[in-house]
């Protein structure tokens, strides 16, 4: 089995770095069948998901990952990734804590986000 832990870790690093620098380019991580549930609001498909992410009402955002855990969930190389951390938006003083879970699926040699659930958990 591939090193799902290493994949998860690389993915998480890449995901939040991209999110913080230019979240429009997260589109490449999603596919048509991908689903994002952001604070309960669902978006389906790479285009809609990117729109949702780009349209979030802040300009600057910074994620800091506190914990990351991953488990293989299927024989075809699916990985479930759970992240908790903090984010800071725009000029706000307070960090917001979040929890995000990803279901990664393999597509040939690469992975994409099949399911993505984001929640702020406390402030």
């Amino acid at each position: 089995m591939a090193d799902f832990q290493g994949i998860a870790q690389q993915f998480v690093e890449f995901y939040y770095k991209t999110f913080d620098e230019n979240r429009a380019s997260l589109q490449s991580l999603y596919r048509e069948q991908s689903m994002l549930t952001f604070e309960s609001a669902p978006s389906q498909g790479a285009v809609a998901i990117t729109e949702k992410l780009v349209g979030l009402p802040f300009q600057k955002v910074q994620h800091k990952v506190n914990t990351l855990d991953a488990q293989p969930t299927s024989e075809d190389g699916g990985i479930m990734v759970m992240v908790t951390g903090q984010l800071l938006v725009d000029e706000e003083q307070n960090v917001m804590n979040f929890c995000q879970t990803f279901q990664l699926k393999r597509d040939g040699g690469s992975y994409f986000v099949f399911n993505d659930v984001f929640r702020l958990v406390y402030g």
Partner: protein, 649 residues
């Protein structure tokens, strides 16, 4: 049972399955009221700007203030917003957004012309000349814009002021006149410039946010005179009647000249090195008695003092809430707001509700309490500052997830061995990680101890912290025996009741098309569920069994069909962290459910009670309007309603 109640995770039947339907459609919380102002028509402005090319005589050599750039007169909204953006981002193009609004033009230098011997000193002749030139200029422009009609300009409104003639006209004509600065007429060079109040804020550089050097001392003086260090109050009330400002001829009102207030805020900003210093120095600002019809002229206050606690806007002329839109969702720490003495009170009786939504920490509006201290703390807690929170999305299939969750947490709290037996099989995976870095709920009085996390830390599988491969592998537990061993070693727990304390849970569920098939009959996998749970539990003392600590947790389950008809856990991932409360997923009040707001408004109207009491009354009546009114009448007759429940006249 009232269906509207089930907006939270768990309602009286345990789960809010309907929550997804109650989501607001894509209405985006509009934090930046000023963004909407971008729609200010640019074309209008460009019309004039583009026509500027013609006279070559008056351009580069001119160092006086006589170019055609419109100055000082601010097309309030667009320019002001450009300034705000300029001040904050440093890159807004003021020039482009600069409108022409020259309604008054001063023409001088004509006294010694060849026409000065005319009966009227040459004024009539001068005006005829100017009319003709402007007519030609504007007609050309009009034609180039596709208009066939010639323009006829006549300059009828004028008066002589010493050596100058002051012409009142339209912005188009005004700008066109200014283009002719330095033109030669009857043997003299004319000086043509926008007539402006001669005060320190007359801007000679074209950048509206700039102020002249002599404005600074006036503003610094104003701030020092108007700042009360004891109260940490900056008193900007009644500025138009400030004797010093009057003596300096600075302003006719707080909004005029329009760059006065932004300049004042800029000088305020310069007094502080850090945001913290600013927060500690200015708690309150009053803008009372300024004849404000909108907050546009003073909107920069929100940039300079975003953390203001108290704001007084009383005795202005604000007609509706839309005149305050620039401050919607600003001032996130605002505790008290005074709006009394504004027409808005009569014209927009439901403004209480909106204002309450706009300012999450606001406790007192017009000296009436609209939030309890607890509520204000919770809602200003930072969580919902940028992101609207809706009820959770819960798409169950035949109550599978619901039943699983109820049974799982009951088992986890009381009999972990039976639980493992029921839900985990040889391929189930469990791991947990400890987040000991998150900040905790400020409402919680719980102290952190030195060995706070000892029970968890050695088994935590935080891949961010844990790079050693054997540890990574060892701390992932597969199969019932290992899982029972690890979860038995974790402290005993008590989770809040899903029925009675549903608000403490945030549970989301959706289907996952392919999870491994336990029976191995479907190599492509079978349909499963993915469940995300955020919540809390009490950590129980091992022997005494009483609650020791509150913790928060996040837990993700992937469920698949079990061999014997039930469900099995494919994967179980847990994160444990310091207690963080449940404010984060409490849906935005009122806004979260479009059905509530009109009901509250109606109850306010019919009972005369303030929002919080009206809401409470509705809640107690299951959001049934008539029941709420009856309940109110009954309570009122019984003398049970306190005086503070009512809007005070």
């Amino acid at each position: 049972m009232a269906p509207a109640v089930s907006k939270r995770v768990a309602s009286s039947d345990g789960f809010a399955r309907g929550a997804a339907h109650k989501r607001r459609s894509g209405v985006r919380t509009d934090r930046d009221g000023d963004l909407m102002m971008d729609a200010t028509p640019r074309n209008q402005n460009n019309k004039i700007g583009k026509g500027r090319g013609k006279p070559t005589t008056n351009t580069s050599t001119t160092t006086t203030n006589g170019t055609a750039k419109p100055r000082n007169n601010i097309h309030a909204k667009s320019t002001q917003n450009a300034i705000i953006r300029h001040l904050t981002s440093g890159n807004a193009n003021i020039k482009q957004a600069q409108p022409s609004n020259i309604k008054s033009v001063k023409v001088s230098g004509w006294k010694n012309s060849k026409a000065s011997t005319n009966e009227d000193g040459g004024v009539h002749s001068l005006l005829t000349f100017l009319e003709k030139k402007v007519t030609t200029n504007l007609t050309k422009k009009s034609i180039s814009n596709g208009n066939r009609k010639p323009v006829q300009v006549s300059l009828k409104k004028y008066h002589i002021d010493g050596d100058a003639v002051i012409i009142s006209t339209t912005p188009d004509v005004g700008a066109s006149l200014c283009v002719m600065n330095k033109w030669v007429w009857a043997g003299v060079n004319l000086q043509i410039e926008p007539a402006q109040q001669s005060n320190a804020f007359s801007d000679k550089n074209g950048g509206d946010q700039e102020m002249q050097a002599d404005a600074r001392p006036i503003l610094t003086d104003l701030i020092s005179r108007r700042y009360n260090a004891d109260l940490k109050l900056l008193d900007l009330s009644g500025l138009a009647s400030d004797p010093q400002l009057k003596a300096n001829g600075v302003l006719t009102s707080i909004a005029q000249p329009a760059n006065f207030f932004p300049a004042l805020m800029k000088v305020c900003d310069e007094q502080f090195k850090t945001a913290q210093e600013k927060r500690d120095t200015v708690f309150s600002v009053t803008l009372a008695n300024n004849d404000l019809r909108s907050v546009s002229p003073v909107t920069t206050l929100a940039q300079t003092f975003p953390d203001l606690k108290n704001l007084d806007l009383s005795n202005n002329k604000i007609p509706t809430l839309s005149s305050m839109i620039n401050w919607k969702h600003k001032f996130r720490a605002l505790d008290q707001l005074l709006l009394n003495g504004n027409p808005l009170e009569q014209q927009d009786p439901a403004f209480y509700i909106q204002i309450r939504n706009w300012y999450p920490a606001l406790r007192t509006l017009n000296n009436q309490q609209i939030r309890t201290d607890q509520e204000a703390l919770q809602s200003s807690h930072g969580v919902k500052k940028a992101l609207p929170v809706r009820g959770p999305m819960f798409h169950d299939e035949g109550d599978i997830a619901k039943n699983f969750i109820i049974s799982f947490f009951a088992g986890y709290d009381t009999d972990r061995a039976a639980l493992v037996n029921m839900y985990y099989d040889t391929e189930s995976i469990f791991s947990f990680s400890l987040n000991n870095r998150g900040i905790s709920d400020p409402l919680s009085r719980q102290k952190m101890e030195k060995q706070e996390w000892d029970a968890y830390i050695r088994k935590s599988r935080n891949l961010k912290a844990l790079s050693h491969l054997p540890a990574r592998v060892n701390r992932q537990y597969t199969g019932p025996a290992k899982i029972l061993e690890i979860i038995s070693s974790l402290p005993k727990t008590r989770h809040p009741d899903l029925g009675n304390s549903g608000q403490k849970w945030c549970i989301e569920c959706q289907s996952l098309p392919s999870v491994p098939d336990a029976t191995r009959q479907h190599p492509g996998g079978v349909g499963g569920l993915i469940i995300d749970i955020h919540g809390e539990f009490e950590e129980l003392d091992e022997r005494a069994g009483n609650a020791e600590k509150s913790r928060s947790f996040d837990r993700n389950f992937v469920l698949g069909p079990g061999v014997n008809g039930g469900v099995r856990i494919v994967s179980d991932t847990l994160t444990i962290r310091a207690y963080g409360g449940f404010a984060a997923w409490k849906p935005d009040e009122l806004e979260s459910n479009g059905q509530q707001e009109p009901l509250i408004t109606e109850v306010c109207r019919r009972t005369g009670m303030i929002v919080s009491f009206s809401k409470q009354c509705l809640e107690e009546s299951g959001w049934n309007l008539e029941e709420a009114i009856q309940r109110f009448e009954g309570a009122k007759a019984a003398g049970l309603i306190p005086a503070e429940a009512f809007v005070q006249a």
